[in-house]
């Protein structure tokens, strides 16, 4: 085989390998991903047994510690639907009522279960668009 031919073959092989690997990557990302939903969407479209990434605000007054479990409700940003859930695992520092959170949930028998250690609280917004009023003390 001439050197030029060898090079073409090499290139084709390399590109094919890259395409195959990329396809594998892309395919698994779609199957391994959990849809990001708001409480409203979850109520409407939620399927039992499937994992979802629930995002929203922690509803005021809904937080309760029961031994190792943390019960709280996640509310739509607009304040409409709220999903109560039970969560076990790491609770990040910034977690509190009114904070934006992301938690992986699965719909069990009649209730939602937060997956272990999946709770993420958004860092309190460092970059605010509108300035807040100053506090006098």
């Amino acid at each position: 085989m001439s050197p030029a031919r060898k090079r073409t073959v090499r290139l084709v092989v390399a590109l094919s390998a890259a395409v195959i690997l990329a396809s594998a990557l892309i395919y698994t990302s779609f199957s391994a991903a959990s849809p990001t939903v708001t409480p409203g969407q979850l109520v409407r479209e939620g399927v039992a047994g499937r994992e979802y990434q629930l995002t929203g605000k922690v509803k005021a007054g809904s937080v309760r510690h029961e031994g190792q479990t943390l019960d709280f409700a996640v509310q739509d940003r607009a304040g409409e639907a709220a999903i109560p859930l039970s969560y076990t695992g790491q609770v990040p520092d910034p977690f509190k009522e009114g904070r934006e959170v992301i938690v992986t949930v699965v719909k069990g028998a009649g209730r939602y279960i937060g997956q272990r250690d999946s709770l993420i609280t958004k860092c309190p917004s460092k970059y605010k668009v509108t300035p807040s009023k100053g506090k006098t003390y």
Partner: protein, 737 residues
Amino acid sequence: MPELGRACLLLALGVCAYGIGASLYGVRRGRPEFALSGRHSVYALAGILTVAFAVLELAFLRSDFSFNTVADTSSTTTPTFYKAAAVWSSQEGSLLLWAWLLSLWSSLVLFLTRRRLREESAYATAILLGFAGFFVSLMIFYATPFATTNPAPADGVGLDPLLRHPSMMIHPPMLYSGYTLCIIPLAFGMGALIARKVDAEWIRATRHFALAAWLFLGVGIMLGARWSYSELGWGGYWGWDAVENASLMPWLTGTAFLHSLMIQEKRGMLKVWNVSLVLATGTLAIMGTFLVRSGILSSIHAFGGATLGVPFVVLIGVLIATSIYLVYTRRDMLASEHRLDSLLSRESIFLANNVVLVGLCFVIFWGTYFPLISEALTGHSASVGPPWFDRYTVPLALILVLLSGIGPVIAWRRATLANARRNFLVPLACALVVLVVLLASGISTGKPLAIAMFCCAAFVLGSVGQEYWRGTRLRRASSGEAPPLASLALVRRNRRRYGGYIVHIGIAVLFVGVAASSSFQHASELSLSPGQSTKVGAYTVRYVRPTGTITSKQDAAHTGATMSLGAVLDVSTGSHPARHVATLTPSEGFYDSGEPSQGSVGHLIGGQAVSHVSMDGGVTRDVWSAIAPDISTPRLLRVMNIANKTIPLVRPDEGMIALAVLVREYLKAPPPAQLHLIVSPLVLWIWIGGLIVLGGALIAAWPAPSAVRQRVRVGVRSADDRLDRPPASPERGLARV
């Protein structure tokens, strides 16, 4: 003073516009004085932005709350160090920092290349001013740092307690320096393409800037990881969060660029790769900057500000389109001077290195932007978690480490079996020894990837060690120095090579730490009462007693926690007798929320709680602990209710006394507290590896000692010329190894 700041921004925009015009006019019409005027515009811009930054910084230091950004992120009780650093904790302030750093680095670079790269640097000047102008426009039209409120509020909101940590304050300037430094090679790359001069001179100049960018980004990433590990309450150093990934991606392409450049230098190959990599690095840096502040991706760091999204998307689109256009239209001059002779050659290994690094970058890119991609393709936003990232990045990282051991020793053009025997025997032996030891020790069951990483790291150490050994021996043969001196001289005279080898050692060490701490970690999360103990890995942790402190609001030396509750933990190992290992004191700090609705006493501790981690770091392992005390037991809540009812809002001192009562009640009968305990082996080596990388990079980047250059200039033929052949040309005095 805010008027001066606003005037500076307008002036800056004007200077950018003029500079772009002057540079382009100067280079296209052959009027060097205009090109020089364009370069001076960059210097002027740096001056203007310095004044603007000083105005903002002074406002913070003087607690001038008429400035909105000061009122939003600082307060009278914020310690001075954090006041000074709070400048960049807001969107507007960070844009100013970005623009200022860009102008400073651009000025430095243009000054250093003032006598060279005439044409390329004129275009680069225009491009750099374009970027600066973009950011200045953002500040003028979208998010100005100099907005004021009249009348000024009496006090500010204060800096988020989570950010009151020294490395969290250094992390943004480091990262921004990294990002802005990535723009400079991009500008010179585009300039070189426009001027049709992608040659050795361009490589020489761009390499230094790319190395500086790579260094700063790397330090920024390491600082962020360290902060996450030692300050945040989750005990990890990397979470594949969108913002972490955003800074890693340009670093990966930057690494590929620095390596791939060598091939262009030595063999005139991979030119298309190199320009593409340098353009990609700059574009990824802009994308990273955009990601952090646009809120388009849900992540731990999602900062608000959807209004900034559109300009950035346009900028990124322009960058990508321009890059593709330039590379395509200049492809004839980017043709390789040589061809790949063999798949087993250094050229081929470097090409593989490029592919793996770009592959890693692609995986991370895909995973990071997946929510947007899936939304665009399927209408539903979905995200992938750390396990998906790990699945693809770990094997790629293994290959990368392996390549870093093969690359330095494999022969150019074509590796023969004899080469391979000579160069790979020792490294392979090292890897095998490690493998055997690990298998025999029995700890390796079920952790093949970690074992593979340890073996690859051993391979790298063997390969680099061999290089040093052989090089020292060569040097000693000609100079007769003692081994340590010979080694030093070797490094001094071949900084780039041997400094680079040290970087490879650092990376190997770092990955050993990562592999060990992820695969062999023991973690435990449970409720404990005083007196109880639990086992974590080889250690027994006993909750000895609770702790509690109150700190007055005026104590500026502290981070400002009003109340702190924690525990004393005793860590021991073994039994009969148990050996004391460490005493840990994790605690949780409660901060003032400033919300009267939480009660006159409630608000004093109603703000965000911050976990103060306590750990015992060691050479072989870290024992890490965090605590979440329970303050909502019925008894403690009763105390709080009574305090809220009886103490007026305007008497915070009496509120503090009430808190003291609360703390005493807590200490008298402490409820079970939630403890998070982790024993991670070899974490320290991650930080050590990072430091080794830094040291190696500095050695590689340091200019050659003048002694070497002196010898060369004098033109005296060196006595240690061992080459047994007639010179092809009159010797002009080239210093030997």
